[in-house]
Each structure stands twice: as structure tokens, then as C-alpha cells.
Symmetry: C2
Subunit: 276 residues, 2 copies
């Protein structure tokens, strides 16, 4: 019986979900269980798995590339699962799954991939976007999709500071404790800021990210814009390897997982059969 692995590209609005997946406290985690008080609120992964299982008629192990936190959104989350139900045409499979999903989750793409593909270990780079609404007027219609922060910001200083994140650094100062990663060294390929008043969009592309890394980077950049820190201080913050040396953590609801790139070798040679 042929088993086929499928790669899903998913868009969702995280507002109504307890993140992609319940965060399991690990040995490094000091705080309360992240699920505290949120029992009963579904995760995107659970909701999506239920829809897939209703279509393929068997349990699936749905593995997501990024564990987005509660309230965080995605334009291009990626996940994989295996099934022997390979006789379902791809487009039919996608529509059947989407018809069983709520309005705030949509499978944008579904592709067969070789068993070498793994949504987590095959990841080459990711890009996040963070939206900030810098106006006195509230973003009434998208209050859950952008951080509303009204204070005059020095854009040039922010861009100067943002550039200092680019490169391979130890991002320990920009990680929430309990991230549970052995190494806190990451490579940031790009950290850009676009400003079309009153909207700021921060873009951060990197090899991988630590827990709350983008949100702490954005919170710190906003404090640079307010004059709390000088752009030069970013370097010192990185060197200190101490969370208290960096700035505040920006709220979750302004964050979007934009896209994920994978190692070409792992996605190559996808069997083209009766899936198409």
C-alpha cells in the first residue's frame, strides 16, 4: 500500500486559536503551563487535523514547521502528513479539506513531497512580518491584526538599529526563557522596516527563530524609535546574552508568519502520479 507525504501551505488568522499547537512545558520552562486557563480553546493544528482526517478517513500526524503562539497569524505556515489515500486528486483533496475548515483557516496549497521532506528539519529559512498601526485613531476593523501604538517614532533610528540584527549572532537576549533550545545562535538574513504612515511593517528573515525572538526585536526597535535606546545599543544587547538587556516584547497579534523556504534536496523528486 503506497504511502504518500503531502506538504500543506496554510493561511490562518490566529485570533480565535490557542496558537498552532499547545506548547508543552519543557525542562527549561520556569513559568506556568502556557495552556493555563486556555483549555477548551482549539489550536490551528487540531482544527486542521480534524478536517484532514474527515477526508482521508484515518488518523493523521500533522507536523507543523512553526509553533506560532496564541494570537499569531500565518500567511504561509507549512505542515506535512502521510496518507495511503493517494487516489484522491490533489485539487479535490484541497477543496474537501477547506470545505471542512472554519472561515479563518485556509489551505492555500497542497503538494506531494518525498518522505525525505520534513516540515521542521527541512526548513532552510523563514520570514516573519510584524504590523504596527502608528496612529491615534484605532485600527477598528483589524484591531486583532496589528499592534496599535501611538507615539511619534524616529524611523531612521529604527532602520539603523534593525540593520544591526543582520548576521549570525547569539540571540539569547532576544529569547523568552523556556525556549528550550541548546544553542541560541541564529542567523538573521534580513531585518527591514517599511513605513507608509500610519503603518509600519517589520520584516525579519532568518535561519530559525527563538521563542518570542521577533516580538522582542520589534518591541526593542519601537523603543529605539521612542528614544529609549540608541541604535548602537543593539550590539551591546546581543553581546550581553541576557533577556533583561533587550527591550519589551511586542504583542502577539501584530505578528504574521509570512513564508518558509525549504532545502531543495528534501522537496525534490516529488512523485508525480495519480495525485495530479
Amino acid at each position: 500500500m503506497e504511502i504518500q507525504r503531502y506538504k500543506l501551505t496554510i493561511a490562518y488568522r490566529g485570533t480565535a486559536y490557542h496558537g498552532w499547537q499547545k506548547q508543552l512545558p519543557n525542562k527549561y520552562y520556569k513559568g506556568p503551563a502556557p495552556t493555563g486557563g486556555l483549555e477548551g480553546i482549539p489550536t490551528v493544528q487540531e482544527t486542521l487535523a480534524v478536517a484532514i482526517q474527515a477526508v482521508v478517513k484515518h488518523q493523521v500526524n500533522l507536523v507543523g514547521s512553526s509553533r506560532t503562539d496564541t494570537g499569531v497569524h500565518a500567511k504561509g505556515q507549512v505542515a506535512h502528513f502521510d496518507t495511503h489515500m493517494t487516489q484522491i486528486p490533489l485539487i479535490g483533496l484541497q477543496r474537501a479539506i477547506n470545505s471542512r475548515l472554519p472561515a479563518d483557516i485556509d489551505v492555500r496549497r497542497i503538494e506531494p513531497v518525498p518522505p525525505t521532506f520534513d516540515a521542521i528539519s527541512s526548513t532552510a529559512s523563514k520570514r516573519y512580518q510584524y504590523f504596527l498601526w502608528n496612529d491615534r485613531r484605532k485600527p477598528v476593523y483589524f484591531s486583532d491584526l496589528a499592534w496599535h501604538w501611538w507615539h511619534r517614532l524616529d524611523v531612521d533610528a529604527m532602520k539603523d538599529a534593525a540593520a544591526r540584527f543582520v548576521g549570525t549572532h547569539d540571540f539569547a537576549s532576544f529569547a523568552k526563557s523556556g525556549h528550550g533550545r541548546e544553542s541560541t545562535v541564529r542567523t538573521v538574513y534580513a531585518c527591514d522596516i517599511s513605513y507608509r504612515p500610519p503603518r509600519f511593517v517589520f520584516g525579519v528573515e532568518g535561519s530559525g527563530f527563538l521563542w518570542n525572538m521577533v516580538r522582542i526585536m520589534v518591541g526593542t526597535l519601537v523603543q529605539v524609535g521612542m528614544g529609549t535606546y540608541e541604535p548602537e545599543e543593539i550590539t551591546r544587547m546581543l553581546e550581553s546574552k541576557d533577556r533583561t538587556a533587550a527591550g519589551h516584547t511586542a504583542p502577539a497579534h501584530g505578528l504574521f508568519l509570512q513564508w518558509i523556504k525549504f532545502k531543495p534536496a528534501d522537496v525534490a523528486d516529488a512523485p508525480q502520479g495519480d495525485q495530479n
Copy 2:
């Protein structure tokens, strides 16, 4: 003690509210109490009144121009209230109220008006907008702000039909029973459709509107676009004065109250004093 009347222009996202105001069943209303099952869900009017009262330090009677239904949004709802707390500068009053409101309600403007101004009886005309997302892909990030309807639509036929609503007609066929109005004759000044794929925006401007009038007009226009009705049938529907002669009611969440115009005489001569 000087009493001053204030006119508020308000924007809100109706998703989390039980409409502007709880609809009181009237002698014409046949169905279940509209509040059925929704007790505990706040209305926009209640939420706004609480914020105003916290600022002016006394009970206020907040009168809104349009009783938008549950899930309906507003860019320019208008309401009025009276207070003797005229020593509060206008801008301070607005900011104090907004700081006490949730992220999905924002007072866009506050102006002193003469006691002749009444948010309901001074209304000259109103314009509603209805947003339709005509694509297979779901509007994941604004699923509560547009009707997601995927079916090829004949735009020309819809525009032809829309034009037939313009003028003074008896809109009994386009009113939900229980509207409780003596007369169902209304004047529609404009009924336009803009289409920038995949987004349709219906705009309806009129002297006044019956319960669900815009939503039934939009639902019927979409059925014209699908070929269920010919554009010419709009005239027959109006003449029949029978709700069953018209089409479906479009869902509430695509509807926005865009703006309200008032009789110039009623808003004139606003006292310009220490309010400014």
C-alpha cells in the same frame, strides 16, 4: 446650568456586539425576541454609554441614528447625548472616551450641536456599503468583514438590476417582517456596484431604510448575478410588495453603515464656546 448636546461620529466593528442596541420586539414583530440566546453580549450603545458616563460623571441618554444589527459594522454611525459638563475641552472629551473604549469602537469626531439636533429625526440621508469577497480563497484575515461567496457573477446584469432600485418605491418586498414602520415607501438616491476582482462593494444611499433592506437588496442582486433572476424582475419584485417575491437576505457581517447626512438647519448655529 448650561446643558450642551454633543454629536458623536463613531466607527466600530460589529463582530463582538449584539448590534448597536437591543431590538425591542414591537407589535408587528412575529418572531422570537431578537435578544434570544444573546443575553450577556454587549451592544455598542451600552459599551459607548458606559465610557461616556465614566467621563462626564452622570447618566446619559445616548441616542443612535441607526440600529445596526448584530455583526453589522459602522464607519460613520452618529449618536447624540446631553451633558452639563461643558467645561471639558472637546479634544479632551474625545480622548477620554476613546481611552475607555475597547479596540473595536472608536469615536472619530465629537461636535457641539444645538438642541434642535436629533440623531434620528434630523437624518436627511444615509449610505451603506456591502462587501462581498468573490473568490474561492477565503478572506482569512477579514472573514467577519465581508461575505465570502464563490460563484461566477454577471456584473453587468447586477449593475442593470441595481439601477432599478433608484427612485421612490414601496420597499415592502425588501423588508424583514416586524420592521414596525407604518410606511414602507423609501427613496433610494443611489445604488452602485464597484467590482475590483475578487471584491464587490455595493453602495446604497437613501432617505431611510427598512429592516434588512440593504441585505435583501444585495442578496437579490447576487442572485441576479447568478442568473436566478433577470434584472427586469426587480421592478416586479417592488410592485408585488411581498417579501417572498424578492431574493435571499445577505449575511450581516458584510454590511457597513458608511455615513449619515443631516438636515443643515438642525446642525446649524452650534454654540462655539469653551467646548473648543
